[in-house]
Amino acid sequence: ARSTSTFNYDTYHTLEEIYDFMDLLVAENPQLVSKLQIGNSYEGRPIYVLKFSTGGSNRPAIWIDTGIHSREWITQASGVWFAKKITEDYGQDAAFTAILDNMDIFLEIVTNPDGFAYTHSKNRLWRKTRSLTSGSSCVGVDANRNWDAGFGMSGASSSPCSETYHGKSANSEVEVKSVVDFVNDHGNIKAFLSIHSYSQLLLYPYGYKTESPSDKDELDQVAKSAVAALSSLYGTEYKYGSIITTIYQASGGSIDWTYNQGIKYSFTFELRDTGRYGFLLPASQIIPTAQETWLALLTIMEHTLNNPY
């Protein structure tokens, strides 16, 4: 595509196409968008984050990541759509403009670039990173079991051959460590939204323990509102609740770590569908999925803006 206006949002794209899209978006919106490199993947690919900012210094910020599980292609595709949507709506949509006038947004569209490249070149259904484990012929770590929150407890596997292998230690995956370092260095992230597929769920901590988070009532209300907003567009039904009570125990997950770091508004989404296509969601559903998800994201972002802590 020659511009982000002619970019095709209703098809899936390769890593190179997405990275080219980021450069176009930055070039077209230099006052609003910049591209940060927060690290390199295990195989040496750059890990990029788009920063949307209208000024200020170290403003409170909202983090959104997509694609930590590489085969969940609807998430990277939605991330691309979100990026364009942010540039379109700033200055046009009053509620969103208020958010970006006061807060920055960081968007990591391809959190696991090695895995994503691998899904395009070798195995469409690859989920993990591509790091090697000494003593095992199996490759990769589940990057959403590698965070320092209940690391290695039930809800992750110690077998390198498992799809939920937690890795040799917390943050062993550079794709995870890069985000951890970024979040710590920034120090002012107020909402952390991690996007997965599928199952149509909006989840908050915890995943590794049954104990409720101290902000449970508020998180539950926010999730309820966000799901209502999402459903208002196409009637897509979502469930919401804590990870452990809504799906299953999962240790070493990203939003458990961020919540424990004091980022109160830590949520994770599971996008469409509920089990017809699974990870192979037809491209015709990219835009509707992104549109409805955006409404939920807006609800959480607005709440974050209006409830400083």
Binding site: E163, Y248, F279
Partner: protein, 94 residues
């Protein structure tokens, strides 16, 4: 590229904790090369699993022997992947 010809995704419905445990045991059988898209959780919560062609019969027999209900969610994974690839190529040409 790895091909997924004949792979099916099964949706398994577990009625009680015992059935959840039974499917969990299935997860541990590495030679079947099962790929759980949604792992065993609790009764009433569906389990989705991609089964390679070579394991389909064994898995279905196992489930039926334990009285565990399932249906085919995706008949042939590769056919969906082919459609996806064709659409991407068409989009690039455009």
């Amino acid at each position: 590229k790895e091909d997924f010809v004949g792979h099916q995704v099964l949706r398994i419905s577990v009625a009680d904790e015992a059935q959840v445990q039974t499917v969990t045991e299935l997860e541990d059988l590495e030679h079947l090369q099962l790929d759980f898209w949604r792992g065993p959780a609790r009764p009433g919560f569906p389990i989705d699993v991609r089964v390679p062609f070579s394991s389909i019969q064994a898995v279905k027999v196992f489930l039926e022997a334990h009285g565990i209900r399932y249906r085919i969610m995706i008949e042939d994974v590769q056919s969906l992947l082919d459609e996806e690839q064709e659409q991407m190529l068409a989009s690039q040409s455009r």
